[in-house]
C-alpha cells in the first residue's frame, strides 16, 4: 500500500507528486528532501524512516523516485514497482531525465492513475498500457466503440497482457540471455564470493494466441529426464561436450504470463507470450560459475613517496570467443601526485577526478594474457591514516553465459492458425556482463 509517489530533480525540486492515501501529508515531500536529498551525510540506505513514515527511493541519473508509506509494506514489492515504473516511463518517452519528465508530466500522472490504485500496484505491462494510454490526442484516435470495449475486456480479462487478433507475415522470436557476473577475489586468487544474476529477455512477433514452451539445462529437469530415459545421458549428447551439462538455479522469478502451476508440478515453463519485448524470467546461480577473467594484482610500496603497481589480466574462455569493452579500474591513494603508466595492450590513463587508473581494452580473445604496470608518486602527508587499498574492479562483456545456462528449446504451438513450430524464425543470443567484479590488492 504505497501512500504516495514523488519524483524530484537533482536539486530536490518536486517534479511529480501523487498522493494516494490521506495519511501522507504535504509535508512528507519536504521531509524527504530535507532528510535524504539535502542530507549532510550522503544517505546510502534505499529505505529511510522519518517520523514513522517510510520512504523508498531509487535514483535514475539525476532523478529521485520516492515511494512513501506509513504502513508496514513489503519493501521488495515497492522497489519492484519503482523499477517497473521506470521501465514503463522509458518505454513511453525514452531516457528518464528532468527534461523528459517535465515534458511528459500529464502522461506520467495518467500512468500513475492507471498502474497504482489506492496504493496497490495494478497492471504495469507496457504493451497493455499502450493500448489505452496513448500519446496522441483523442481526436487523432479513430477508435470505435467496439475497439474500446475490446480493450476493456482484454485488459480486465484472463490474459491481460496480450490482445487477440495479432497477425504477422513473418513469425519471429528473439531470445536474449543476459547475465551479470559478480565476484570478489582475494589477492591470492581465492574466490571470496561469486554469483551470477541473469535475465531471459524475449521479443516475440507471433500471430494469434500461441502457446510457448521454453526449455533450458536446469539441473532438476535434466536429472529427471536422465532417470526416466535410457542410461545414455541425453543432456550430454545434446550439448555436445561444451563444458557443463546442467546448472543449478538458486532462485528464479517469472513474468506473469508463465503458468506457475505447471512450473511447480512439472518444472516446465509454458506461457502465452505478450507481444513485443518483455522479460520472461530472472534467475540467480552461485555454483560452478565460469569466471571470464582473472586479475592478478601486485602492489609494492617503495618508501613513503612511491608506489609500484603491476596488474595482469587473463582471459579464461574459448579462444574463439572475443570479449569486448574491457575496462580495469585500479584505485590510487588519495595523496597521489603523479602517475606513469605502461601497458602493452589498450589504453591506460590516470583519472584524478576518480582517484583511479583506468585501463581500457577494446577486444580480447580467450586464453590470452595482458599486463599493465604503473608508478605512482605520492605526496608525503602528516596524516597517519594508512591507505585503505580499495579493490581493483573490472568491466567487460563476453558472448556466452557465465552461469553455463543453455537454451535447449523454445517451442511454439498455435492450434487455430496454420503455422507450426518450424515456421517460426528463432534467434538466440548470450551476453555475459560484469556486475561488481572485484579483486582485492
Amino acid at each position: 500500500m504505497i501512500g504516495g509517489l514523488f519524483i524530484y530533480n537533482h536539486k530536490g525540486e518536486v517534479l511529480i507528486s501523487r498522493v494516494y492515501r490521506d495519511d501522507i501529508g504535504r509535508n512528507a515531500v519536504d521531509a524527504f528532501r530535507v532528510n535524504v536529498i539535502h542530507a549532510r551525510q550522503q544517505v546510502r540506505s534505499p529505505v529511510t524512516n522519518i517520523a514513522r513514515t517510510s520512504f523508498f527511493h531509487i535514483k535514475r541519473s539525476n532523478i529521485w523516485l520516492a515511494a512513501v508509506t506509513k504502513q508496514n509494506v513489503n519493501a521488495a514489492m515497492v522497489f519492484e514497482f519503482l523499477y517497473k515504473m521506470c521501465d514503463v516511463m522509458s518505454a513511453y518517452f525514452g531516457k528518464i531525465s528532468e527534461e523528459n519528465i517535465k515534458n511528459n508530466f500529464v502522461l506520467i500522472y495518467e500512468l500513475l492513475d492507471e498502474i497504482l490504485d489506492f496504493g496497490y500496484p495494478q497492471n504495469s505491462e507496457t504493451g497493455a498500457l499502450k493500448t489505452f494510454i496513448t500519446q496522441q490526442g483523442i481526436k487523432g484516435q479513430h477508435q470505435t466503440k467496439e475497439e474500446q470495449s475490446q480493450i476493456t475486456s482484454q485488459v480486465t480479462g484472463q490474459i491481460g497482457w496480450r490482445r487477440e487478433g495479432i497477425k504477422y507475415r513473418r513469425n519471429e522470436l528473439f531470445l536474449d540471455v543476459l547475465e551479470s557476473v559478480n565476484l570478489l577475489m582475494s589477492p591470492q586468487g581465492q574466490v571470496l564470493s561469486a554469483h551470477v544474476s541473469g535475465r531471459v529477455v524475449m521479443k516475440s512477433y507471433l500471430s494469434g494466441m500461441p502457446e510457448c514452451k521454453f526449455g533450458m539445462n536446469d539441473k532438476i529437469v535434466i536429472d529427471k529426464q536422465g532417470k526416466g530415459g535410457t542410461t545414455d545421458d541425453p543432456g550430454k549428447s545434446e550439448l555436445g561436450g561444451s563444458g557443463k551439462q546442467s546448472i543449478a538455479i538458486d532462485d528464479c522469478t517469472f513474468h506473469q504470463c508463465v503458468r506457475l502451476s505447471k512450473f511447480d508440478s512439472e518444472r516446465s515453463i509454458s506461457f502465452i507470450p505478450p507481444d513485443g519485448e518483455y522479460e520472461l524470467m530472472r534467475y540467480r546461480t552461485t555454483k560452478d560459475i565460469i569466471l571470464p577473467f582473472r586479475v592478478i594484482p601486485l602492489v609494492r610500496e617503495v618508501g613513503r613517496t612511491k608506489l609500484e603497481v603491476k596488474v595482469v589480466i587473463k582471459s579464461n574462455f574459448k579462444p574463439s570467443l572475443l570479449a569486448q569493452k574491457i575496462e580495469v579500474r585500479i584505485p590510487t591513494p588519495l595523496n597521489t601526485s603523479g602517475v606513469q603508466v605502461i601497458c602493452m595492450k589498450g589504453k591506460a590513463k590516470y583519472k584524478a577526478s576518480e582517484n583511479a587508473i583506468v585501463w581500457k581494452i577494446k577486444r580480447m580473445a580467450g586464453m590470452k594474457e595482458s599486463q599493465i604496470s604503473a608508478e605512482i608518486e605520492l605526496l608525503p602527508t602528516n596524516d597517519k591514516k594508512k591507505w585503505a587499498r580499495p579493490p581493483i574492479s573490472m568491466n567487460f562483456e563476453v558472448p556466452f553465459a557465465p552461469s553455463g545456462l543453455k537454451v535447449r528449446y523454445l517451442k511454439v504451438f498455435e492450434s487455430k492458425l496454420n503455422y507450426s513450430d518450424h515456421d517460426v524464425i528463432k534467434w538466440v543470443r548470450y551476453i555475459g556482463r560484469s556486475g561488481i567484479y572485484e579483486t582485492r590488492c
Partner: protein, 832 residues
C-alpha cells in the same frame, strides 16, 4: 562567471569556484574537487619551485575545498612558507589558512610561532596586526604559552601604533579567556589601566573590554580604573555630538564605549571619593536628561544607540542602589518605555523594572505603573513580554495592591499561555498567602485558582491551603462553607475534590447546622465525585468518610453501606481495599469514644518555610526570587508536607513524641489500633504499615508513608531468605521475608480471656518459634517458622498483639503465599 579583477584576483581560483558552483550533483562536485586536489598535489610535489602567487592561489583553493567540508591533509608547509613572504596578500592568505586549519603538529607549530614572532618584532604595523589576529583566532594553549609575555609589552609600549594596540588588547583578552593562568598582568596592570586615558578612542574601546574581563577576576588590582572610567565617561557624555568625529554614531557620541564604561563601573561598588561620585552622578543625570531630549534623527540606529546607553546607565543605577533620586527618575523613564511601539524596548523596560521594584527607594515609583503593566499582561502579543509583565507584577506586589494584582493575575490565568501557567499559579498562591489580610480572602483565592487552573496547581499549593486552614481557627468555618459551595459545581477539578474531602472531613461539622449542608448532603456531594477521581483521591475520600462517621453518627449506616459495597471492600487496588476493610471494622467495632480519639481533629502543623516558595525558587533558579520575599518567607506558616526529616511514620501524627511510642497514645484506651511500631526493627516496620493505615487520616501523609513501606517491601522482595525456627534468632538476622505479595490480615474477634502460657503453647504447637525481645511491647508475641508442604516450603511470620483491657487481639500473619497466610489466620482465629 564572476568578474575577476586584474590586480589581486586569482583567476584560477575564481574559475575553480565557479566550476564547483555549476556542478549539477554532489558526485560531480566531488569529481571536480578530486581533480583539483590531484593537480595541487602534483604542483606541490613538482620539482620546480612555485612562485608566491601560485602558492597563494593553491593554498586558497585548498582552503575553499576545506570549507566545503572535505579533509585537507597537506599544504600546511606551503601556507607556512607564505607567512615569510613580504607581500601583504600572500602573508594574509598564509595566516588565514593557518587560523582555519591549524593542527597540533609540533613541527609545524614551531615554524608558525617563529613566523609570528618575526612579524611581531617587525616594525610593520600591518604585519604585526596580522600576527596578532592569527594568535587571537587560534587562541590555543601553545600560542598562549609562546606569546602571553610578549603581547602586554606591545600593548603598553609607547611607540606602538594605535591599530596595533587595539589588536593587542583584544588578542590578550582572547588569550586570557582561553588560558587565564598564562596571562599574568602583574607589572603591566597600572599601565593597562592608563590606556583608558589614551587619545585614540579605538584603543580605549579595545582596552576597556580587556579591563572589564580582568577586573571581574581580580577587582582589587584594577580599582584605579573607576575614577579614570568616570572621567572618561563624563568627557564623552558632556561632549557635543560633533566633537568625536569618527566615533559619533548617528549623533550619539561613542555609544559602544559609553556602554562598556558603564558596564565596567558595574563591577565595582559606588566610588567612595565624593568628587568622583559627584561626577558620576552628574554623568548619569546627563544621560537620563539626554534620553528625554527629542531625537536628533528618525533613524532607528540613533534611538537604538541612545537607548543602549540609557539601559546600561539604569542598570548601573540599580546596581548602586543608593541614589533614591536617580532610581525614581530611572523608573519614570522606564515607565515611558512601557508603552513604546518597540516590543524589545517594552521587554527591556519590564525586565529592568523588575529589579527596580526590589529596591526600597524605587518600589513606590514602580507601583505607579501598575495599570500599564496589567494592561501589558493582557494585551501583549509576545509571550516572553507577558512573562516579564507577570514577573514585574509579582515583584511590585505588596500589601496595598495585593488584592488587585492577585485578581488580575487570576483573571489572566484563564487565557494565559500554557508555558507560563504553572509559574503563574505558584506566584498567585504565594502572593495570596503572603499578603493575606483576612484568610477568607485567601481561601477564596486559592479555591478560585484550583477552579481556573486545576491542572497546573501542584501538590504544594493545595497542601498549603489545608495547612493554613488547619492552623487558623477563624477561617475553618468559612473554608468549609466555601468548599462545600465550590464542590457543588457539576465539574470540579480533582484537586478541588481533595481539598473538599479534607476540609469537610475535618470541619464539616461547622456547617452541618444549615439544612442545605446537612451531614448527609455533604456526604452525598463528596461521594458523587468519588468515581471520577484517581486512586490517591479516593483513598483520601475514604478517610474523609470515616471522619464523617465520627463527626456525624447519623451518617454511620449510609457510610458503612458504601464501605461494604463490593467496589470498595473488594477493590483491586490494595490501598483502597485495605482502607475500606479497616474503616468498616473500625466503625462497627469501636465505641464512640474510641472513634473520637482515633479520628480526632488534626493538630496544627509546625511552622515552616512555605514549600511553594521553595518550589518557585527551584523552578526559576537561585536569585530569581527577590530578596524581600525571602525575608517574609520566614514568618510564614509551617508546611504540610515538607522536608525530608519526616521519616517513616513518626511525623504522620504530629503529636506523637517518639516513634517507638504508641501511634496515637492509645495504649491506655481500647487497643483496636494498638500497633507498636519500632524504628529499630525492619520486621516491625513492615508490620507497622497496618498501624499507620488504621489511624492515619491524612491520605497524603498516609500514602507517603505507605510508599516508604513499599520501598521496604521492595527491599525484601529482592532477598531470598530463610526463616528457621530458632529461638535465638535476633531481629537483624530476621531481615528476611521472601514473599511475592505482602499480605497482612487482621482479625478482630472477641478476646477470650487467656493466659500467656496458653498462647505460647498454641503458637509453639503450630511449629513456630517464639522470638523474644523482638517487639518493643513485651506483651506481643512474635513468631517465625517454615511450613513444610509437599511441594515447597513456605516461610511465615506472625505477630499477635493481645490487649487484655479491651478483650481484643490483633493477629498479623505474613508468608510467601497469600493462601497460606489466609489459612493460617483462619486456623489461629479458631484457636483463640
Amino acid at each position: 562567471m564572476p568578474a575577476v579583477s586584474k590586480g589581486d584576483g586569482m583567476r584560477g581560483l575564481a574559475v575553480f569556484i565557479s566550476d564547483i558552483r555549476n556542478c549539477k550533483s554532489k558526485e560531480a562536485e566531488i569529481k571536480r574537487i578530486n581533480k583539483e586536489l590531484a593537480n595541487i598535489r602534483s604542483k606541490f610535489k613538482g620539482d620546480k619551485a612555485l612562485d608566491g602567487y601560485s602558492k597563494k592561489k593553491y593554498v586558497c583553493k585548498l582552503l575553499f575545498i576545506f570549507l566545503l567540508g572535505h579533509d585537507i591533509d597537506f599544504g600546511h608547509m606551503e601556507a607556512v612558507n607564505l607567512l615569510s613572504s613580504n607581500k601583504y596578500t600572500e602573508k594574509q592568505i598564509g595566516y588565514l589558512f593557518i587560523s582555519v586549519l591549524v593542527n597540533s603538529n609540533s613541527e609545524l607549530i614551531r615554524l608558525i610561532n617563529n613566523a609570528i614572532k618575526n612579524d611581531l618584532s617587525s616594525r610593520n604595523p600591518t604585519f604585526m596586526c596580522l600576527a596578532l589576529h592569527c594568535i587571537a583566532n587560534v587562541g590555543s594553549r601553545e600560542m598562549a604559552e609562546a606569546f602571553a609575555g610578549e603581547i602586554p609589552r606591545i600593548l603598553v609600549a609607547g611607540d606602538t601604533m594605535d591599530s596595533v594596540k587595539q589588536s593587542a588588547a583584544l588578542c590578550l583578552l582572547r588569550l586570557y579567556k582561553t588560558s587565564p593562568d598564562l596571562v599574568l598582568m602583574g607589572e603591566w596592570t597600572s599601565r593597562v589601566v592608563h590606556l583608558l586615558n589614551d587619545q585614540h578612542m579605538g584603543v580605549v574601546t579595545a582596552a576597556i573590554s580587556l579591563i572589564t574581563c580582568l577586573s571581574q577576576k581580580n577587582p582589587d588590582e584594577f580599582k584605579t580604573c573607576v575614577s579614570l572610567a568616570v572621567s572618561r565617561l563624563s568627557r564623552i557624555v558632556s561632549s557635543a555630538s560633533t566633537d568625536l568625529q569618527d566615533y559619533t554614531y548617528y549623533f550619539v557620541p561613542a555609544p559602544w564605549l559609553s556602554c562598556k564604561l558603564l558596564r565596567l563601573l558595574q563591577c565595582y561598588p559606588p566610588p567612595e571619593d565624593g568628587a568622583v561620585k559627584g561626577r558620576l552622578v552628574e554623568c548619569l543625570e546627563t544621560i537620563l536628561n539626554k534620553a528625554q531630549e527629542p531625537p536628533k534623527s528618525k533613524k532607528v540606529q540613533h534611538s537604538n544607540a541612545k537607548n543602549a546607553i540609557l539601559f546600561e546607565a539604569i542598570s548601573l543605577i540599580i546596581h548602586y542602589d543608593s541614589e533614591p533620586n536617580l532610581l525614581v527618575r530611572a523608573c519614570n523613564q522606564l515607565g515611558q518605555f512601557l508603552q513604546h511601539r518597540e516590543t524589545n524596548l517594552r521587554y527591556l523596560a519590564l525586565e529592568s523594572m523588575c529589579t527596580l521594584a526590589s529596591s526600597e527607594f524605587s518600589h513606590e515609583a514602580v507601583k505607579t505603573h501598575i495599570e500599564t503593566v496589567i494592561n501589558a499582561l493582557k494585551t501583549e502579543r509576545d509571550v516572553s513580554v507577558r512573562q516579564r509583565a507577570a514577573d514585574l507584577l509579582y515583584a511590585m506586589c505588596d500589601r496595598s495592591n495585593a488584592k488587585q494584582i492577585v485578581a488580575e493575575m487570576l483573571s489572566y490565568l484563564e487565557t494565559a499561555d500554557y508555558s507560563i501557567r504553572e509559574e503563574m499559579v505558584l506566584k498567585v498562591a504565594i502572593l495570596a498567602e503572603k499578603y493575606a489580610v483576612d484568610y477568607s480572602w485567601y481561601v477564596d483565592t486559592i479555591l478560585n485558582l484550583i477552579r481556573i487552573a486545576g491542572d497546573y496547581v501542584s501538590e504544594e499549593v493545595w497542601y498549603r491551603v489545608i495547612q493554613i486552614v488547619i492552623n487558623r481557627d477563624d477561617v475553618q468555618g468559612y473554608a468549609a462553607k466555601t468548599v462545600f459551595e465550590a464542590l457543588q459545581a457539576p465539574a470540579c477539578h480533582e484537586n478541588m475534590v481533595k481539598v473538599g474531602g479534607y476540609i469537610l472531613g475535618e470541619f464539616g461539622n461547622l456547617i452541618a447546622g444549615d439544612p442545605r449542608s446537612s451531614p448527609l448532603v455533604q456526604f452525598n456531594l463528596l461521594h458523587s465525585k468519588f468515581h471520577l477521581c484517581s486512586v490517591p483521591t479516593r483513598a483520601l475520600l475514604l478517610s474523609a468518610y470515616i471522619k464523617f462517621i465520627n463527626l456525624f453518627p447519623e451518617t454511620k449506616s449510609t457510610i458503612q453501606e458504601v464501605l461494604r459495597s463490593d467496589s470498595q471492600i473488594r477493590n483491586s487496588d490494595v490501598e483502597l481495599q485495605q482502607r475500606a476493610v479497616e474503616y468498616l471494622k473500625l466503625s462497627s467495632i469501636a465505641s464512640t469514644d474510641v472513634l473520637a480519639t482515633v479520628l480526632e481533629e488534626m493538630p496544627p502543623f509546625p511552622e515552616r518555610e512555605s514549600s511553594i516558595l521553595a518550589k518557585l525558587k527551584k523552578k526559576k533558579g537561585p536569585g530569581a526570587v527577590s530578596v524581600n520575599e525571602l525575608e517574609e518567607g520566614k514568618r510564614e506558616g509551617g508546611e504540610l508536607n515538607g522536608g525530608g526529616e519526616r521519616g517513616g511514620d513518626s511525623s504522620a501524627i504530629a503529636s506523637t513524641p517518639s516513634p517507638s511510642a504508641d501511634l496515637l497514645g492509645l495504649r491506655t484506651g481500647p487497643p483496636v489500633t494498638a500497633a507498636a511500631p519500632s524504628t529499630g526493627s525492619l520486621l516491625v516496620d513492615v508490620f507497622s504499615e497496618a498501624g499507620v493505615n488504621d489511624d492515619g487520616f491524612l491520605s497524603t501523609q498516609v500514602s507517603k508513608i505507605y510508599n516508604t513501606v513499599l520501598v521496604v517491601f521492595g527491599y525484601f522482595n529482592k532477598k531470598i531468605l530463610h526463616i528457621v525456627p530458632l529461638n535465638d534468632l535476633s531481629e537483624r538476622e530476621l531481615v528476611t521475608i521472601n514473599e511475592q505479595t505482602p499480605q497482612g490480615v487482621f482479625v478482630m474477634a472477641p478476646f477470650l480471656k487467656m493466659f500467656r502460657a496458653l498462647t505460647c503453647t498454641i503458637l509453639l504447637g503450630l511449629g513456630m518459634a517464639l522470638l523474644e525481645n523482638v517487639d518493643p511491647n513485651p506483651e506481643n508475641f512474635v513468631c517465625a517458622g517454615v511450613i513444610q508442604t509437599k511441594a515447597q516450603q513456605v516461610g511465615s511470620l506472625l505477630r499477635l498483639e493481645p490487649n487484655a483491657q479491651a478483650q481484643m487481639y490483633r493477629l498479623t500473619v505474613r508468608s510467601s503465599k497469600d493462601t497460606v497466610s489466609k489459612r493460617l489466620c483462619e486456623l489461629l482465629a479458631e484457636q483463640f
